[in-house]
């Protein structure tokens, strides 16, 4: 016999375990194929690539999962005993071991390369010229968004100018001519469909994480660092922005809204309105 000593005794415990593995396999196949719960609606260009990597890994691990749990359940059901029988005495098979080792290594290598192509397209490519630039500063427990306005130049900021009353949360130097048309809004971000957005991430105090589930974007905002990420919205609408890095007791409510406008005109109108509000102050 290939298994050394033939099938063993079918036991209740063995069958019960095999049944458990079967239930596990069926339920997980249902969860991952019927997808009763799944990713939030995709709304960015490169988010699809991330979902693609996820799907590739899901197929490979799914096959391994069903295979291993299935074989485990089958073996446990098939090779039971009453407590007196003898098993086969064999404990090596260099060829099979080498085959499995090399097979696993090859699959892992393929997964690395697939994933790295997407990783490179996200991190090793700059935002296209003409992107909308936003400076995002996290703080306990809010997000500040700073837009350069029509002149496209960000006004000077200085931490010393930050006020206690929340009227100047990023320390914008009002004396700098470039700052005249800048707008700074709290927990409210805007972008336009089809126009890449370049986000410069900073933090005032502790580490936060800029998480836009629909865009598949997540990047930590680290105090002392200025980190660039970019995304290109493909769908108009409002999307939630969450903090994904534990930042203190109010971490859960560090929420902002990203509004993706249909046209550039909508964005400009919003910006004009905000600027008028701020000048009025």
């Amino acid at each position: 016999m290939a298994d050394g000593n033939g099938p063993g005794r079918i036991t209740i415990a063995g069958l019960a375990f095999a049944f458990m593995m079967l239930v596990l396999i069926v339920v997980s196949l249902w969860l991952f194929i019927a997808k009763p719960w799944w990713f939030p609606q995709l709304a960015s260009v490169r988010g699809g690539d991330i979902d693609g990597v996820f799907t590739a890994v899901l197929i490979v691990t799914g096959i391994a999962f069903v295979g291993v749990q299935g074989v485990l359940g089958y073996f446990v059901a098939r090779y039971g005993s009453r407590g007196t029988e003898r098993a086969g005495y064999w404990h090596d098979n260099p060829k099979a071991e080498a085959g499995l080792l090399i097979g696993t290594a090859v699959i892992m290598t393929i997964l690395v390369f697939m994933g790295q192509r997407v990783w490179a397209s996200i991190y090793f490519t700059d935002a296209p010229p003409g992107s909308l630039e936003v400076q995002v500063t996290g703080e306990q427990f809010a997000w500040n968004f700073h837009y350069a306005g029509p002149d496209g130049v960000f006004g000077r900021t200085d931490a010393k100018l930050i006020t206690n009353d929340g009227t100047n949360p990023v320390g914008l130097d009002k004396k700098d001519p470039a700052s005249k048309d800048d707008i700074v809004v709290v927990n409210e971000m805007h972008a336009v469909v089809g126009k890449p957005v370049k986000v410069r991430l900073r933090s005032k105090d502790v580490i936060h994480s800029f998480f836009l589930p629909n865009m598949r974007v997540k990047q930590d905002a680290v105090p002392g660092m200025s980190i660039l990420v970019w995304l290109e919205p493909t769908r108009a609408g409002t999307f939630e922005l969450a903090c994904a890095e534990l930042c203190g007791l109010g971490h859960y409510k560090m929420k902002a809204t990203l509004t993706v406008d249909k046209t550039e005109q909508d964005l400009n109108n919003w910006a004009k309105g905000k600027l008028a509000e701020q000048s009025g102050n």
């Binding site: 593995m21 291993v68 749990q69 039971g80 005993s81 086969g88 404990h91 290594a105 502790v206 998480f211």
Partner: protein
């Protein structure tokens, strides 16, 4: 040698305190570690029950809890700061004070001398000291729950600068955080004393004939783990000391310039928050293997014993553990893909991480190879060892998503991560530890645990852990962030409410099943069925040559001599279906 034996055996009758409390006997110290860790597990588990209560019914008023905990449940609703401190304390207690303590502290101490044929550890006093320092660290960490401001808010990873700025960054970041750092410092010192002992003992005190390639896999795993601990713990200790300097000494190791806390510009400059993450995870990833390797070793030995079949490919089992240990020092960056670390490093760490999956897969194949053609005896111990494989595979496979940096962008800091690490480094080790407890309980206390209750415990646990942790993968896919007090604060998480309730109810059931185990454990110490023979499971390793429970000095006048490896089950032509390591070649036929 004779003279040495004579002195070793001239043990005066020790009183109760010296024998059971201030003991230097490795077996007593092992049991002390075990019972202390179990106590910590009850605390850590209870904290997670509160977390699940909040996640299933956020904002719900619990008048009864409001009466018992007037601060944590002010106005009968759980306080957000309390929730985050639960997250921190649950993680810290479980990772360090349960898993590390029970797998290396309890089983390491109890099993090393017994399985290698030694009378005790190389440094018995150091061993006792290691336990007492560990106990002190337990008291310190628990006390963090009771100081003004409560326990820290930064999670078990204590990312700087949240952890470095003191009370300004949150209520628990004052005294609570100081106690957290102190407890971890003490814990690492205790771990270093233990590790030094384990390495020395296994390398120098093996009995005659016990060559390295005849060691049971449990011993290999404990040796490798001890080496990992010796290399990784000092890094955590150093990081904890630097963090203390930042907090009380005015230094800026982890605090950059320009931090504005409560609208006040801080004077620090020159530090870097990512330095903490690098130090923490340089320790933290090997720590994962410090927990899982002994679990793998014990599960392998238990599996082989009850399969009545040699472990498949012993050599590859050893080599894969060694390579996992080596690789574990070059994968830490996969915890930091979106941290702001150079994306080039992200590529490198993806590669090393998926490489480490290969030896883990090899081990899985070898476990399946062990069961293939076996004659399994279904005891509670063997069921937990088999359950270990299933859970380890489930959790291990979801790690491949997280190791791929591109997929991790989305999944990082979601419940997908929580699902992954709970299955692979909490539940899998827990299953192996349960298997180990049911298996070695007769050797520890001279009595069996109740098998019927044991099986109830196993089936309840197997169903329970999958019901609790498998759906968390799906929660992660929907984007559910970890460590948030109220998921319903987000519209995109509202559809998760039902699943959160399901997970919570499953968690309460799972916890209830663990009460069966606790009752079985403590009642069996005094009232379990007595073990009449030395070797009730018909196993091959040296500890089964000694009486149950094993006396002081472990072996009789002569230390055992080893003639074969630890896996001679179902040897063709042998009289019994197991051949102990002490049986000389040829003698098994008689």
């Amino acid at each position: 040698m004779q003279v040495e034996h004579a002195t070793e055996h001239a043990h005066p009758q020790l009183g109760f305190w010296r024998k059971y409390v201030f003991s230097t006997d490795h077996k007593i110290i092992g049991i002390q570690y075990m019972i202390t860790a179990m106590t910590m597990a009850v605390v850590g588990g209870l904290l997670s029950m509160f977390m699940r209560l909040q996640l299933a019914w956020p904002g719900h008023a619990w008048p009864a809890l409001g009466k018992i905990f007037p601060v944590a449940f002010a106005g009968n609703i759980m306080d957000p700061a309390f929730y985050v401190s639960l997250v921190t304390m649950h993680g810290t207690i479980m990772v360090f004070f349960l898993f590390t303590a029970v797998l290396t502290g309890a089983f390491g101490n109890f099993l090393i001398p017994l399985q290698i044929g030694a009378r005790d550890m190389a440094f018995p006093f150091l061993n006792a000291l290691s336990y007492w320092v560990f106990l002190l660290s337990c008291i310190v960490i628990i006390s963090a729950l009771f100081v003004a401001g409560g326990a820290p808010l930064g999670g078990w990873t204590a990312y700087a600068p949240l952890s470095a700025l003191g009370e300004a960054s949150g209520p628990g970041e004052g005294a609570g955080m100081t106690l957290w750092i102190t407890a971890l410092g003490l814990f690492t010192v205790s771990g270093l004393m233990g590790g030094l002992n384990y390495v020395t003992t296994i390398l120098t005190m093996r009995t005659k004939g016990m060559s390295m390639m005849r060691l049971p896999l449990t011993q290999w795993s404990l040796l490798i783990t001890a080496v990992l601990g010796l290399l990784a713990f000092p890094v955590l200790l150093a990081a904890a000391i630097l963090l203390t300097f930042d907090r009380v000494g005015g230094t800026s190791f982890f605090i950059p310039s320009g931090i504005i806390m409560n609208n006040r510009l801080l004077g620090n400059s020159g530090g870097h928050p990512l330095l903490w993450q690098h130090l923490f995870w340089f320790f933290g990833h090997p720590e994962v293997y410090i927990v899982i390797l002994p679990a793998m070793g014990m599960a392998s030995d238990i599996l082989s014993t009850f399969c009545r079949k040699p472990i498949f490919s012993y050599k590859m089992m050893v080599y894969s553990m060694v390579s996992i240990a080596g690789l574990s020092f070059i994968v830490w960056g996969h915890h930091m893909f979106v941290s702001g670390m150079s994306p080039f490093l992200g590529s490198v760490f993806t590669m090393t991480t998926l490489v480490i999956a290969v030896p883990s897969a090899v081990k899985t194949f070898n476990w399946l190879g062990t069961i293939w053609g076996a004659r399994i005896r279904f005891t509670t111990a063997s069921l937990f060892a088999i359950g270990f494989i299933s859970v380890f595979v489930s959790g291990g496979l979801s790690g491949i998503f997280l190791g791929s940096s591109a997929a991790d962008i989305y999944l990082q800091d979601t419940y997908f991560v929580v699902a992954h690490f709970h299955l692979v480094m909490a539940i899998a080790p827990l299953f192996a530890a349960f298997g180990g407890i049911y298996f070695w309980f007769p050797k520890m206390f001279g009595r069996f645990m109740n098998e019927t209750l044991g099986k109830l415990h196993f089936w309840g646990s197997l169903i329970g852990v999958y019901a609790v942790f498998f759906p968390m993968h799906i929660l992660g896919i929907t984007g559910h962030m970890r460590r948030i007090y109220d998921p319903l604060f987000y519209d995109f998480l509202k559809p998760d409410k039902g699943m959160n309730i399901f997970v919570s109810v499953s968690a309460f059931c799972l916890a209830t099943v663990q009460l069966v185990f606790l009752a079985n454990f403590f009642v069996s110490i005094f009232a379990g069925r007595r073990v009449k023979e030395n070797n009730p499971w018909q196993a091959t390793t040296l500890e089964w040559e000694t009486p149950c429970p094993t006396g002081h000095g472990n072996f009789g006048d002569e230390l055992p001599v080893v003639h074969r490896w630890a896996f001679d089950y179902s040897v063709p032509g042998a009289k019994n279906d197991f051949v102990p390591q002490t049986v000389p070649p040829g003698a098994e036929k008689v």
